[in-house]
Symmetry: C2
Subunit: 455 residues, 2 copies
């Protein structure tokens, strides 16, 4: 049994990558630039630095540097929980009786419960280096907020978190976790910002959205001294930081002469998927290999599969720059799906461009099927997945079933972005058969598209 | 920096021990035998097999076999989450400015959230091998119940779990997690058993205890066809299975030429501590080394530090065998401390004997201090500990502070038994300053001692 792939492949600390990989340096068509909504001209550094930490702005605008060094203090904190394990899903393979080999990169082995910590550490570090005192951010599922709380505790920064109201209520204990790490959590929309007040006045019963929480966090940051705003997804810099997921994955698979035929990730704003595929998309862009890449989104919030590729605001309050992306319109309010981390109207500009250029596919799946997959996976693999991650599990299972039919022994890699310990309201709803499987109608979507800016 | 100890030491799959270590084979004074409460004679196999799976009974009574082979299917399931990481607490050391080297063995990297899975897998496997259809058990903090649910899902057994009422209410989502894995959870005391009805009649406001839940689970198992009872702590067999913690720890430390001067574990029934210290106590019993071993218990339930070494029932309903152990009396009902896993009136007979023979020390700590340590640890090490585990963290910090005073660079090893994701009610109570720090008075303890059987 020599060289048999173990259940879990752990790299050594020395194997943690020293550089992030910037996909833009190899893309044939660059993502369209962010626009100033007033002038409709591409944004320049000076316009962004009042909002984001300066080093983050530079990374956001850097379309050419292929490899960007990971600062030593960031690597030091990475070492506390990285390298993350690459796991061979032997039990799932056996259960499915498939010739496919299923691997997953598990990013939930830290208290934030997800991959979000990878970018949180980087952004908090750059803020600290700049001499800032505090940060603001938003959180959907709560994972990004927890990750930022951890990173800010580590680097000694104050943090205010606007948490999407529906998650705030579905996940009562998430607030406590952020509190343990010193984060201050506010349910969004709130009365602490002008944009929050306006949204509440227009739609008092709203359960909130990431887009709305972003508006509030940005407003707060800009109005506060020595404070900036940080975002956990969508942005180019976030995908850059998250490339560590894919880079480690590639090293781990290479140790066993494996290379994925299919790469699957859940996609909300795109941070996990963009990170997971980074080095593999490089191979694909350079014509070296041709893995199939599949983005999985919730049927309730289908930006890639049913959205439009257009310039749009990143937030509901329309105070952020405009980005060209697959979007449902910043006014689209998704139904209260339990995968809070996937309830975002737009998709990362980088992934949007790659999708538009045909480098990746997208699929969507309903909530009950996602929890069918999550429950099966829990019992077989003993990890209770986050609802977001379970979207990828669902599709990985579907692909493995296809392999059973065709007899192909494909290598499937998916991203297990996090754990579902704070999603038990959702799991209980699934077990009680009270889960909402609402899929937006074309009319629902049209209402969102009607909020797209005319550019 | 060659040979610098990494943050996390991961052993390879091949390094998972193939044998458990049975401390009794090397003990100078064996733990006193379990007694039949009717005859007051030592129990024989035939009396125990109606209650426990037969292979578990054999292990319970085996005082001589030093190494017991871990069955291959058990090792296969171990591989899903083991070897568990040995972590060097660099950030904690730096914060404390101590010359001490602090290591912790982290057993929380599985969905049960604790070390409990190590014995759950073994017991479920033996039950399955015997052809049993179902099992019953109790759970305090919910970790053992989750672990048994996972193991039973894996091996295909039905499971009924009596959950201590106070934990059932403090941890609403624990029930859901067990449900995901197919476990059926009942709040204890309940009306589903005679003993539960009796306890409810005597004390309608009781928040329950492990001792009470054990009574119910045993009654249910004995009354059900093809069913047995399993227990997650106290028993000799459980400490045997948990020896894997210590065995892996020793291998990991040896790779860096380390050997602990001080070994610290939280102690409720003793499963974690007994497992962690196993190979080190062997060295100590054989006169090879002399590490200091410290059991840490909650001040609210101080069996070692304030209890009596006497024969007692393992349960509140007095339907189990009698064990000689440090005990507060089976009628002792601890205050509703948040470390549900440590709310047990007695201590493992093996650990009790070792303590009585002077091989280990014991200390107790109040709840607020425990959460001070837990919060500090979270921020520095990015793992949110279970309240149980935080008892060990508290004492490790105290010992590291002593090293700072004395200038000694001692090597400290403690067991981080699990994560606190389902303990956010407790953490929130700590942050809200509403934590109960009640310590039993001598009169409170006397009431418990009054329930000790006259043997």
């Amino acid at each position: 049994m020599k060289n048999k792939v173990p259940y879990r492949i752990y790299l050594s600390e020395e194997q943690i990558p020293k550089y992030w990989y910037n996909m833009r340096a190899d893309m044939k068509n660059l993502p369209a630039p962010l626009l100033n909504p007033g002038t409709l001209q591409p944004l320049v550094e000076a316009e962004l630095t009042p909002v984001f930490p300066t080093a983050c702005v530079k990374q956001e605008l850097d379309n050419t540097t292929r490899y960007i060094e990971i600062p030593e203090p960031v690597r030091e904190m990475y070492k506390i929980y990285r390298p993350s394990p690459m796991i061979r899903a032997y039990n799932l393979e056996k259960y499915l009786d498939t010739p496919a080999k299923i691997y997953y990169k598990f990013e939930g082995n830290n208290t934030s419960g997800s991959h979000k910590l990878n970018s949180a550490i980087a952004q908090a570090y750059y803020a600290k280096e700049q001499g800032l005192k505090s940060l603001t951010t938003e959180t959907g599922a709560g994972q990004w907020g927890t990750a930022m709380s951890e990173a800010c505790a580590y680097f000694g920064l104050d943090l205010t978190i606007y948490m999407v109201k529906c998650s705030y209520e579905q996940k009562p204990f998430r607030k406590s976790v952020m509190g343990v790490f010193g984060g201050k959590v506010i349910s969004s929309p709130s009365n602490t910002t002008e944009v929050g007040k306006r949204i509440l006045a227009e739609n008092p019963g709203t359960t909130g959205s990431l887009g709305c929480a972003i508006s509030e966090a940005v407003e707060k940051a800009v109005a506060t001294d020595s404070c900036r705003y940080v975002l956990g997804s969508v942005l180019n810099q976030v995908l850059l930081h998250q490339s560590i997921i894919g880079l480690e994955s590639k090293i781990a698979l290479e140790m066993y002469d494996e290379y994925p035929d299919i790469i699957i990730g859940c996609a909300g704003g795109g941070s996990n998927l963009g990170g997971l595929i980074a080095p593999f998309i490089q191979d694909k862009l350079l014509g070296k290999t041709n893995p199939e890449i599949i983005a999985v989104e919730p049927a309730s919030c289908p930006s890639l599969t049913r959205g439009r590729y257009a310039y749009d605001f990143c937030d509901t309050g329309k105070i952020t720059p405009m980005a060209k992306m697959y979007t449902l319109g910043s006014g689209f309010i998704p139904s209260s799906n339990h995968a809070g981390g996937l309830r975002y109207h737009g998709m990362s500009p980088i992934l949007s461009q790659l999708y538009d250029d045909g480098y990746m596919k997208a699929t969507s799946v309903g909530q009950t099927k996602v929890f069918d997959a999550a429950t099966l996976f829990s019992r077989l693999e003993t990890i209770l997945p986050a609802p977001e991650s379970a979207h990828a599990i669902y599709t990985a299972i579907e692909e493995a079933k296809k392999c059973k039919e065709s007899g192909e022994a494909k290598t499937i890699l998916f991203g297990l972005t996090g754990t579902g310990y704070f999603d038990m309201t959702a799991y209980q709803s699934y077990m009680d058969n009270t889960m909402n499987d609402y899929i937006p109608t074309d009319e629902d979507l049209q209402k969102g598209f009607d909020t797209l800016p005319k550019v």
